[in-house]
Amino acid sequence: MLHTINKSPFDKGSLDSCLRTAKAGSAILFIEDGVYAATNGTAVAEKLKQAMGNVTVYALEPDLKARGVADKVMDGIKLVDYAGFVDLVAEHDKVQAWL
C-alpha cells in the first residue's frame, strides 16, 4: 500500500496514525505540508528514521521546493516529482490518503 500524508506532523497526528498502522513493505509519500516531516532535525526525525527500517519513505520534491526546504531532506528519503508520484501509485496495489 502507498500511504500519502499531506499535513505537517506538528499540525496533525496523521503521521503517527499512519506509522501505527502501516505494514512493513509499504511506502509513505509526503506531499503538500506533509513534506516538513521529511526535513532534518525535527522532533519527528527519530520516529521516522525508525520507521524507515520497515517502510520506504518518499517526499514530493515540488512541495519541498515550494516551501524552501528541499536542501534539508533527511538521508534515505527519496524525492519524486508528480510523474514519480504517478509511478508510485501504479506500483502499489492501493493508496490510502491520511488527511
Binding site: 500500500m1 498502522t21 509499504s26 492501493k94 490510502q96 490518503a97 491520511w98
Partner: protein
Amino acid sequence: MSEEMMEEGGTVKKFLYVNRKAPYGTIYALESLEVVLIGAAFEQDVSLIFMDDGVYQITKGQDTAGIEMKNFSPTYRALEMYDVEKLYVEKESMEARGLSADDFLVDVEVLDSTQIADLMEDQDVVLSF
C-alpha cells in the same frame, strides 16, 4: 436494480471507509456516511474503520439541539439494514480518548493497531474523507 448490477459485471471489491474525524466540527463524518449509504446499493464488501477522532462519530448520547445541527448518529444504527456490518474501532484511539466499547451506539469490533493494519492491507479500495 441490484440484480441488474450483479448481471452487468459482478465485480465485488473490498471497500474500506476510514473515519478519522469528529462529527459536527466538520462535515466529513456526515458526508462520508452518505457515501456508505449510497454505496450500499452497489453490494460491495464494505468495512468501516473508526480511528483517531473518528471514534467520536459513534458515541452515544449526542444531543445537537443547542447547536441546531441535525443529529445524524442514529444513522449508524441503520447501517445494518444496508448490509454494512463490518464496523471496527482502533483500540489505541478509543483508549486515548478515555472511551470503551460501552460508549458506542453500535456494535463494533475493537482491533489493535496491528490488526487494523492487517485489515487495511486486505482491502481493494480505500476512501478517505
